[in-house]
């Protein structure tokens, strides 16, 4: 069913499987609807609202199968950039624009955002009109572990010091590779940690906390609180009702 082969005249082209279509269409629709809602909370919403509604319509079209996605890589890539530029338009909607022939702080961001939205739409259109590459499957394990390792370093470096942060970041990210070996990794991490301490702290004299501070956990929680505060600040602007 999902593997319906349509033979066009030159190149046989494979219809996108139904599940991909649903996934892609739903993501696009959901994101653009969030942006539509967000436009109700800024003062000059018309342009981004119309754009977001259009993208939402395209998303619905994808789900329903009215929009033939012949090059998913281009199509979704282009739409994502369009969504990004709508987001930028919403985020900069409150900034004063042009006064006479003097640029306001909002002029250039809006100019670039509109241009990007146009380009994104053009790329998506190409993805409908001509055959192209499918999206390669995303891997989860490798990227996730590497990102967790890096984030852990960021969270630990202040409260727990360079030694622990480096060692743990190394150990966690190495799990991203399928060829991990325990002993080798533990030794490698120790050598790398020692090397970094020697280079950055003793040779270059950079002001690093080496070992955990007395109130390490308190500091760690304070950092988490900061992150939540920032997430809240963004939500406050974009999500209705908060």
């Amino acid at each position: 069913m999902a593997e319906d082969v349509q033979s066009s005249r030159n190149t046989p082209h494979v219809e996108e499987p139904l599940t991909d279509r649903l996934k892609g269409g739903i993501i696009i629709t959901a994101l653009s609807l969030v942006l539509v809602l967000a436009t109700f909370y800024v003062s000059s919403p018309t342009v981004p609202r119309v754009m977001a509604i259009l993208v939402a319509a395209v998303g619905v079209g994808v789900i329903a199968g009215w929009v033939p996605v012949r090059a998913p890589q281009d199509f979704y890539g282009g739409l994502a950039l369009t969504l990004l530029s709508i987001f930028a338009l919403v985020a900069s909607a409150e900034l004063p624009g042009q006064r006479g022939f003097a640029f306001g702080p909002g002029t250039a961001p809006r100019l670039f955002a509109i241009l990007l939205a146009t380009m994104g739409a053009a790329i998506a259109l190409v993805g409908v009109l001509s055959d192209g590459a499918r999206i390669e499957k995303y891997k989860v394990r490798g990227p996730a572990l590497v990102i967790v390792g890096i984030s852990l370093f960021a969270m630990l470096i202040r409260p727990f010091g360079l030694v622990l942060a480096t060692y743990l970041a190394f150990m966690i990210s190495i799990f991203g590779s399928k060829e991990m070996r325990w002993v080798e990794s533990a030794i490698g991490a120790a050598v790398m940690t020692l090397g970094c301490v020697l280079l950055f702290v003793y040779l270059l004299n950079l002001p690093f906390q080496l070992w955990p501070q007395g109130n390490a956990f308190q500091l760690l929680f304070a950092q988490f609180a900061d992150i939540f505060k920032n997430v809240f600040l963004i939500l406050q602007k974009l999500v209705p009702g908060s």
Binding site: P109, I135, F153, A165, A169, I234
Partner: protein, 501 residues
């Protein structure tokens, strides 16, 4: 002429001070190391090592960073020849003939020709930078905001045309970069733009964070997906480092042409070393009497791209030092390094800090000489480094990058932002978007906005000013022509051919 000589004398005086020679050596060595190791590029390295240069005097810091840059071009060739794995994007093309030569037992000759070609190119490019510096600086004085804006448009268009893949996508990437550069406080009014009142975003998204994310972390994540390549290291002892007389004669033409092509492509904004090496190889193949030899160990196929990438790496400093416009991502990082040391890149560097300008240029020549001297004997050391398996290499690179980013501002948020951009970079790879044009757009964004604003203000809102002022109009005309050429189907096909090769 005599002025040029006296300037160079001043430069060599600075560059030959023991400390600066040491920095130059250090930079060249680190650069070669990075060039040899696959999976870590020049951009990520320079970003990583920025904190190391904090404590150094400005001249020393820049000499070292420049050394890393051209050292990497050079180190990349070693692995290309011996292991058939390009250490750098710039030496991808060298694999083709270089590794074939190594298999035929001529690894020594290939490495030597690469070294000689690079050195020759380095010498020519050094003289070129010195010679073009002064006239271009005086040209810069003729530039008003409209001209600067148009020049940057031209640079971005170059980046688009030279990027591989779809022109539309490359333009979209440039615009994404421009849009992201708008985050942060507005320069004129101080209003926070798209910052959501988050204090950490008030200064904008840091360039190093983005660069490290999309070039460092994303690349690593990507590599983890690929099966580990079997590294077929040519283990036989590299002998016969001296090329034969015939080799020298065969390659001399290729070296000269590669140098010329590389120098030109390096100066152009948006160009750079990668494209120079590809162009030089293609050119050699086209004019060769017997093109079928290429890919089977033709010495010209090593000489031309290696000369070209070195020449381009050096002439890329010209727009930065004279006009203050970084032509590629590495040069954008150099802007960052200069700013840290309180130097504003642009025409005034040459007049206000001649010892910095000329010292850096002279150090390039010294650095190239060092590369020839240190590299050939050290080939064995570099090769043994390649035996470190990637599974140990990549976590080391990750923690090193983390510490590097953190130490720039002592900010954990910066590390988080670069992790985020690692994910973004991974997404870009999956959708076949190229990150380089985005980064260039990001760097030029604030400069472009400022000049656009000023030009419009001076012209009292008349947008035609960009076309009516002769220099500006000329630059834009070239940009439009380039764009049309790139979209024309015939050329597009040829571009694809070049990249497939």
């Amino acid at each position: 002429m005599s002025e040029l000589l006296s300037n160079l004398a001043l430069g060599f005086g600075v560059a030959f001070s023991p400390m600066n020679v040491l920095f130059c050596l250090l930079g060249a060595l680190v650069g070669t190391l990075v060039g040899v190791l696959p999976g870590i590029g020049t951009v990520a390295t320079i970003a990583m090592l920025l904190p190391i240069t904090f404590g150094l005097p400005p001249v020393g810091a820049l000499i070292m960073l420049a050394g890393i840059y051209y050292g990497a071009q050079y180190g990349g060739s070693t692995t290309s020849v011996l292991v058939n794995i390009p250490g750098e994007a710039t030496s991808v093309i060298t694999c083709l003939d270089g590794h074939q030569m190594a298999r035929q037992g001529r690894a020594g000759a290939a490495l030597a020709i690469a070294a000689i070609g690079s050195f020759f190119a380095g010498c020519v490019a050094t003289v070129l930078v010195a010679a073009l510096g002064a006239p271009l600086t005086s040209l810069a004085l003729l530039f008003g905001p409209a001209e600067y804006f148009s020049l940057m448009v031209l640079g971005l268009i170059f980046a688009v045309v030279l990027a591989k893949g779809s022109v539309l996508k490359a333009i979209a990437m440039v615009l994404t970069g421009l849009l992201m550069s708008m985050v942060g406080s507005d320069l004129e009014t101080g209003a926070g733009r798209m910052t959501f009142d988050i204090a950490e975003l008030a200064d904008g998204i840091g360039f190093t964070n983005i660069a490290m994310g999309v070039f460092g972390f994303a690349e690593i994540i990507r590599n983890l997906e690929l099966p580990e390549e079997s590294r077929d290291i040519v283990s036989a002892k590299v002998t016969g480092l001296m090329p034969t007389r015939k080799d020298l004669i065969d390659s001399s033409g290729a070296i000269a042409r590669g140098t010329l092509l590389g120098s030109l492509l390096g100066i152009l904004p948006g160009g750079g070393a990668v494209i120079a090496s590809f162009a030089a190889y293609t050119f050699e193949k086209r004019i060769a009497r017997d093109p079928s030899r290429f890919g089977k160990g033709a010495i010209e196929g090593v000489a031309a791209p290696e000369s070209a990438n070195n020449a381009a790496a050096q002439t890329a400093f010209i727009p930065l030092l004279t006009l203050g416009i970084p032509p590629n991502a590495v040069m954008a990082l150099m802007v960052g390094a200069m700013t840290i040391h309180g130097i504003v890149p642009g025409p005034q560097v040459m007049t206000k800090q001649p010892e910095l300008f000329w010292g850096m240029i002279s150090s390039m020549w010294i650095g190239n000489l060092m590369l020839v001297v240190i590299n050939l004997p050290l080939v064995g050391v570099w090769v043994s480094l390649l035996r470190v398996p990637y599974r140990l290499l990549f976590p080391s690179i990750i923690v090193f990058c983390c510490i590097g980013i953190y130490s720039i501002n002592n900010s954990p948020t910066d590390v988080m932002i670069s992790a985020l951009f690692g994910v973004v970079g991974y997404w870009l790879i999956k959708h076949d978007f190229e990150a380089a044009p985005m980064l260039l757009g990001f760097v030029l964004g604030p400069l472009m906005e400022e000049n656009l604003r000023r030009a419009m203000l001076i012209a009292r809102g008349d947008a035609t000013v960009f076309f009516t002022r002769p220099i500006s109009g000329g630059l834009l005309a070239i940009a439009i022509m380039l764009l049309i050429l790139a979209v024309l189907p015939m050329i597009r096909k040829r571009r694809e051919e070049v990249f497939v090769e």
